[in-house]
């Protein structure tokens, strides 16, 4: 079974989740990244074991700007949905586009490469 994620609008609630293609982030703002883990073959949600640990890595060409986050369940009644927060410093330095997820369920480790899920805008519109 291969896993994937579907990005969610961070304002989603348990009974009103809104799927989005990608999260758009402006540098310097605070934001929440929310996603649902799904079975890639049939698109049905995947619920990790209780006690599972989900870590997320966002890579940059500059090692100093790599970001590693531990996601949590925003809704206790749906363990397929995970989220983490990004502060202003992190959104200022992050590179975005892809995310690497590691799901640790006891001794089982599952990996997900989510492509083009976070779109970060240029740091300022006036220079590059």
């Amino acid at each position: 079974m291969r896993l994937d994620i579907k990005m969610l609008d961070p304002t989603s609630t348990l009974n009103d989740i809104e799927y989005i293609n990608e999260l758009e982030v402006y540098p310097g703002e605070t934001t929440t990244v929310m996603f649902q883990i799904v079975n890639k073959s049939n698109g049905i949600r995947y619920i990790p074991d209780s006690g599972a640990i989900v870590t997320v890595k966002l890579y940059s060409v500059n090692d100093v700007n790599n970001i590693t986050k531990t996601a949590t369940n925003p809704f206790v009644d749906d363990r397929s949905i995970w989220s983490f927060n990004l502060n202003a410093v992190e959104t200022q330095k992050m590179a975005g586009v892809n995310m690497e997820l590691t799901i640790t369920e006891g001794t089982q480790i599952k990996k997900i490469w989510a492509q083009s899920v976070i779109i970060v805008y240029p740091r300022t519109p006036y220079k590059a």
């Binding site: 975005g96 083009s116 779109i119 006036y126 220079k127 590059a128």
Partner: protein, 302 residues
């Protein structure tokens, strides 16, 4: 990857702040208006390059989903990188360049880095060639210090001229009180001097002498609009060439007693004209990008 703790920027800046000293500080603004964009999303591709095109196969009723469009966009970007010889995303590269006595003594040690639009020099050093290798599955020299060869000499970045980095070229300009033929502050040559000095005095060429680590490409999250345009154009060509053959019918007619109706259309040539236009546009864009960011024609002396 690299940590960028030691670095020297391209003094000419990078697009769009060319010909300005590129400030390290983020609060200093450069050019006057936006010439860069974020990465293309499937929605933008549909709106800006595929407006009005139904992404549905009339034969199977399958929809070209957004995940497929993401993959097509990523492939289009790879194609742009290879065809235009630029890095769309920033990349840290390493090159081992040969020692060339003529270039050092007469050309300020000019080294061609292989990729244009270089943004930052991270390391210029002389390293041994005994980089990490494996004997009976046992890695040798497998530590941070020696994985890429041991550092014999780290050239101070003050001596590196970055004014030609946009063309993928660096020079050594120590600007010392001594002539430049006294290479790079090595110890004064004597009979007992170290191997580096002997090499610099007696060897005309030596492969893999210089070790250079550099960053090329554009700022993270800041892709020049014209390059995004080429990526979107290539992606649109790909999508239309997928959709074209799904248009099965050139003509259809139905007759019932005395009444009949006939419909004819371009069939699987439906998008051929659009693809042709996009291919012409791609050629024009590629030409502009190559002349602006890389070289269209490369001429070398020996």
């Amino acid at each position: 990857m690299a940590d960028f703790k030691t670095r020297k920027r391209n003094v000419h800046g990078s697009y769009p702040t060319d010909h300005e000293v590129k400030p390290e500080r983020d609060d200093v603004l450069g050019s006057g208006f936006t010439r860069v964009e974020p990465w293309i999303t499937p929605d933008r591709l549909k709106q800006q390059w595929l407006f009005g095109i139904p992404l549905v196969s009339p034969l199977t009723r399958e929809t070209l989903v957004d995940d497929t469009l993401k993959a097509i966009i990523a492939r289009a970007a790879s194609r742009v990188e290879l065809e235009c010889n630029i890095d769309v995303f920033p990349v840290v590269r390493v090159i081992r360049a040969p020692w060339d006595r003529v270039k050092v003594s007469q050309g300020y040690g000019q080294i061609e880095l292989g990729v244009r639009n270089v943004r930052t020099i991270l390391e210029v050093s002389i390293r041994t060639v005994d980089s990490m290798f494996v004997v009976n599955n046992d890695p040798i020299n497998d530590n941070d210090e020696s994985r890429e060869g041991r550092v014999l000499y780290n050239v101070p970045l003050q001596w590196i001229d970055t004014s030609y980095l946009r063309k993928g070229i660096l020079h050594f300009v120590p600007l010392l009180s001594q002539p430049a033929s006294i290479v790079l502050g090595f110890p004064a040559p004597t009979l007992t001097s170290n191997p580096l000095t002997l090499i610099s005095r007696y060897q005309h060429t030596m492969p893999s002498f210089w070790f250079i680590r550099y960053e090329s490409g554009f700022d993270e999250n800041s892709i020049p609009s014209i390059i995004n345009d080429l990526i979107g154009t290539y992606a649109a060509i790909e999508v239309l060439s997928i959709l074209g053959p799904t248009q099965k019918w050139n003509s259809m007619s139905i007759g019932l007693d005395g009444a009949s109706q006939g419909v004819s259309g371009p069939g699987n040539q439906l998008y051929a004209l659009r693809v042709q236009e996009l291919m012409q546009k791609a050629e024009n864009l590629k030409s502009v990008i190559q002349s602006r960011f890389t070289n269209r024609i490369v001429m070398r002396h020996i």
